[in-house]
Amino acid sequence: MTIRNTLLANLSTSLSGTSVSATSELPFTAGGVTLYNKNMKKLYLDNDQNQRTQLFSTIDNNDVFQQEILVNAYITVDAKNEPSDISNVITKVVNSRFSVANCYVRECEVTNTYADDRLTYNFEFRFLTL
């Protein structure tokens, strides 16, 4: 199971009853517009991005590597009229990282970007495992 699937399963449940819902669609661009800009108040999760980085270097090639998995998520809302529960939604999205097991680093960074009257929350999840 990919980490995206784990996060999606968690968010589908935890966001129910809020003004934002999770979708299984990928955040692709259609007609020059990203889906999360087109469909506001829907959470889009991108696929896992994997990379192997060196944790310990040894002099006999028995190096220890860690796997770093990045997952981006996006929610766009109306900047003029933000959902009243947006801070609750953001907390739930950030806390969804705890649903991923067997990782020794589970981080989430949230950044905001504005485009016209739209406010996009970009969540960057970062997981490290061996």
């Binding site: 270097s57 040894t58 002099i59 006999d60």
Partner: protein, 159 residues
Amino acid sequence: MAYIAVNTTDTFVRLDIKDYSLAANANAAFATTANVLTVPSLQDITVNATPGLFRWQELGFLSEKVVTTPSTNSINTTLVLDDTAFFTGNASTAGIFDLTNNKTQVFFRLYWAGDDSGDKYIQGSGYLSALAPTVSPTAPVWTAPVTIEVVGDYQSGTV
């Protein structure tokens, strides 16, 4: 001038140890691979060969005089712990933890850059010490420094 590079498979540094009770001397200890524990996953290694010094000053001389006293020899290394090397060992040579815990004297041989014919090594006997395994949440693999406190002289040789 030729650098001693250790960056290829054939030139990796290799540290072998063997229980002192299993051989008469270091040459005999490493004449076969039986009971020889090759310490894997070395992160770094430092060979210390430090003659002791006795200094004194004399009136009428602008600088100190010095004579050597017996050397203090040791090998410091840091390794990523391997379950077999740390706990099990190889046949009659115990693992690194037991060798340290039981204060077992060992023969050691350090190949400077590979173990092919013509490659150089130093060897001797000593005790493992300074074992301090550590692990942390952000580096969740055990690593440990280990020091071989050398008994007597190093002997150098060629494979």
